[in-house]
């Protein structure tokens, strides 16, 4: 137990990873990957959280497992396209099953979610055990991933220009496309998230936006699962916007504050993992949780310290 917590060596944690150019490039890729994943999840997550679908991310990320495994078995490779198709199909099927059970049967939403994604996940694990025993895909890798191996992945070149490891480039593209999509459809996303009745009266295709958002979520999960694992994804959907909501209340501000928060999670997680010698992705989540506690303590809105004397909620006064 005594050596469970290592000695805190300031130089080793904060300086050594960045001391030589090789280390700098190597570790920079890891931190950048963490930032890309958190930022893209955080931005989608801001909308997911206000739609009260926070656990849908959990459900979908578990539900895509059989799709991934089937795609792997069929294509016999970890190529991106079949994996992506398989995962999206499984994720959409999972989503559809949940909604169908909720609407057409007496099963309630929470049970429908729990029931569907655990069954999908179980199916995925059995498929792995039966058919993909010697494959490079296993459930543990899916669950916690290993972001530290990012620089070892195949690199992408455009002409002579060296772009970077494949997952990193891909995640960067995902982040940019999500940002563009949110900017393009900002108004529609806002109105469908906050006032469903108004958006129906305005004639907006509410269903399409819902499924579009779910597809974006599935897209992000698939492109990041291999390197960071689903736990980080679920956490990053919820933590940034919730933490930000202790300081700002307007949606654009929440969206903007996911960027510095993600950067902080990524760097903090890297340092934490460097000290604690553990998985980087989970260290990022632990840092995110610490940030959440700090925000809860000192936050302007509903923070413990600043609102200590105020009545807790309006309903209590009545």
């Amino acid at each position: 137990m005594s050596d469970f917590f290592p000695i805190f060596d300031f130089i080793d944690i904060f300086w050594t990873p960045w001391s030589t150019p090789q280390d700098y490039i190597w570790n920079g890729k890891i931190v950048l990957m963490g930032f890309f994943v958190s930022a893209s999840c955080g931005m989608i997550g801001s909308f997911i959280v206000v739609r009260r679908l926070a656990l849908m991310g959990d459900a979908i990320s578990h539900g895509i497992l059989p799709g991934l495994v089937l795609a792997f078995i069929v294509s016999q490779s970890k190529a991106l396209l079949p994996m992506f198709i398989g995962a999206c199909a499984a994720g959409m099927l999972c989503n559809f099953c949940i909604e169908w059970l909720n609407k057409k049967t007496p099963i309630k939403l929470d049970s429908a979610m729990g029931l569907t994604f655990t069954s999908f996940f179980a199916l995925g694990i059995i498929l792995i055990a039966q058919f993909a025993n010697n494959a490079h895909i296993d459930a543990e890798c899916l669950l916690y991933g290993e972001i530290g191996y990012i620089p070892l992945e195949k690199h992408i070149f455009i002409g002579d220009f060296h772009l970077g490891p494949r997952p990193l480039v891909f995640m960067g593209v995902v982040l940019i496309s999500i940002t563009v999509l949110i900017i393009l459809f900002y108004k529609q996303l806002m109105v469908t998230s906050f006032d469903l009745t108004l958006s129906v009266t305005l004639g907006l295709p509410v269903k399409i936006f819902h499924y579009g958002l779910m597809l974006c979520l599935a897209f992000t999960i698939v492109s990041s699962f291999e390197s960071v694992g689903v736990i980080l994804v679920i956490a990053m959907i919820i933590f940034p916007s919730i933490t930000a909501s202790f300081f700002v209340t307007r949606m654009p501000n929440i969206l903007f504050s996911t960027i510095p928060l993600s950067a902080f999670y990524s760097i903090g997680g890297f340092c934490f993992a460097r000290w604690f010698d553990c998985s980087i992705a989970s260290a990022m989540v632990v840092v995110a949780m610490l940030c959440f506690f700090v925000a809860w303590l000192v936050g302007k809105e509903n923070g413990i310290l600043l609102n200590f004397t105020k009545p807790k909620t309006f309903s209590k006064i009545k």
Partner: protein, 477 residues
């Protein structure tokens, strides 16, 4: 009944297991015999473990699902991971007792965090659950990867907590499972009323002086205890499935809480035994996922094929009603067409009918076919078996009285809405359109009495009289 159910379910799963066994080149019958003769010590441990786990999970699951806490149980099962790892380190990788204590502490912290987040901030329950789930689980993974890299990191014992490995359970593990199953059973029997009332109406429970918060915490601790003892068999991620799926299956069958608890634990036990058996057949199959898939299969079977609430049967009944309503709507259209012609003829053109129904001619021909089959209408002057727009149809006596009855229902209801319920005359049609198919004789008599046998509806149209219906044919003026 239960025995036959188990037997029939085994029959369903036999071909699947045979398939699995044949692919693995195992002696299928030998293993089946070994499993069901119940002589092997390992088989005894596994089956007893699965039975008591099923009882515990089924009972707690019933309470969880009716309280709509399914995702809460999922969160709890993830949140105990850091406690398990810490317990492993403190207990020197041997004592499962310390692990349980550690997991209980982590579960308690998780529950407290969720309830204080929802109580003291504006964060909604689903986000709070997600926060605690991912945060605690990540903390667990953090510790886990840490001790994997340490020198004493013999973590072979921990891995089975994540995906579950039934073959690895020892007799002490079995004792904890049995004790937890019996404990849950005893607590539910003793405090059945209290648990029921706090679950369904906590305000009422508060008003009769029950310590609601205390009972809630006891319930959560019991849930954590169930989750932890089942972890070794099904693993962290899937333990919530074992709570949710059997209870959800039972909730399709019954609305009564006691019956629900009974069914739910039965389903959990049955799927546990089948899962253990299948996992025993094929060596590489992980137990937890197999058990979950079995209970999912039972869920799907019950959902579709249950004799009272099954979807297929419901769908079949609905189809029958829809057909009846379609026939009645067509009859009504024929009547209205005749009415427009002031009943001067008894034949109408199919193309006119199509115009009135606002559909195309081929569609209206499709609608007429069941009418002819049920001898409610017949086609005049046509040697061609295929219906066309220029063909004419007439109502048979039976069809005529049926059409009169529907129209009468419709117009009586419209009149009732305008005269007695003070609706505007232009608002009553849609309501009447629905109710005309359902009104029974008794209700029609009542309406007649209330409206004192009217002859005209609010739009000034004649209401077909009882004589019209009884006469069974159209009188041409």
């Amino acid at each position: 009944m239960n025995a036959t159910k188990t037997f029939s379910l085994t029959l369903i799963f036999l071909p699947i297991s045979q398939l699995l066994a044949s692919t693995k080149d195992l002696d299928f019958f030998d293993r089946t015999l070994r499993f069901f003769s119940f002589n092997d010590y390992s088989v005894q441990v596994v089956v007893l473990g699965v039975i008591f786990m099923g009882i515990g999970c089924g009972l707690m699951g019933g309470l969880v699902v009716t309280r709509r806490l399914s995702l809460f149980s999922d969160t709890l099962s993830h949140a105990v991971l850091p406690g398990i790892v810490i317990g492993f380190i403190l207990g020197g990788f041997k004592s499962s007792f310390v692990v349980i204590i550690g997991a209980m502490v982590a579960g308690f912290l998780g529950v407290t965090l969720i309830s204080s987040i929802t109580k003291y901030t504006k964060i909604r329950l689903d986000s709070a659950l997600g926060l605690v789930l991912s945060g605690f689980y990540a903390m667990g993974v953090c510790f886990l990867t840490r001790i994997q890299k340490l020198e004493f990191g013999n973590q072979s014992g921990i891995d089975r907590y994540i995906f579950g490995q039934i073959a690895g359970i020892s007799s002490t593990d079995l004792y904890t499972i049995v004790i937890s199953g019996v404990l849950i059973l005893a607590i539910i029997i003793l405090f059945y009323k209290e648990l029921l009332v706090t679950g369904f109406d906590s305000n009422f429970a508060h008003s009769i002086g029950l310590p609601v918060e205390f009972i809630q915490y006891i319930f959560w601790m019991l849930l954590a205890f169930t989750v932890i003892t089942s972890l070794q068999i099904v693993g962290v991620i899937l333990v919530s499935a074992l709570l949710i799926i059997p209870a959800a299956t039972a909730s399709i069958i019954t609305q009564n809480m006691k019956t629900l608890l009974l069914w739910s634990s039965l389903f959990a036990v049955v799927s546990g035994i089948i899962g253990a058996y299948l996992s025993f057949l094929g060596n590489s199959l992980p137990t937890g996922p197999i058990i979950v898939l079995c209970s999912c299969c039972i869920f799907i079977i019950i959902l579709f094929l249950h004799w009272k609430n099954g979807l297929l049967l419901k769908w079949y009944r609905l189809r029958g009603k829809e057909k009846k309503i379609a026939v009645e709507n067509t009859l009504k259209a024929v009547y209205q067409e005749l009415e427009v012609q002031r009943f001067s003829k008894d034949l109408i053109l199919i193309s006119d009918l199509a115009k009135r129904r606002r559909v195309s001619v081929p569609e209206v021909c499709q609608e007429i076919i069941p009418l002819i089959e049920q001898e409610l209408a017949f086609v005049k002057e046509s040697s061609n078996p295929k219906l066309r727009g220029e063909n004419k149809i007439a109502l048979s006596p039976k069809g005529w009285s049926e059409a009169c009855r529907i129209i009468r229902n419709h117009r009586l209801w419209e009149l009732y809405l305008t005269n007695e319920v003070q609706y505007q005359a232009d608002h009553v049609h849609d309501d009447a359109e629905k109710i005309e198919h359902i009104l029974g004789d008794e209700l029609v008599r009542k309406l007649e009495k209330i409206l004192s046998n009217p002859t005209k509806d609010p739009h000034g149209k004649l209401i077909p009289s009882q004589q019209d219906i009884k006469r069974g044919y159209m009188h041409i003026q």
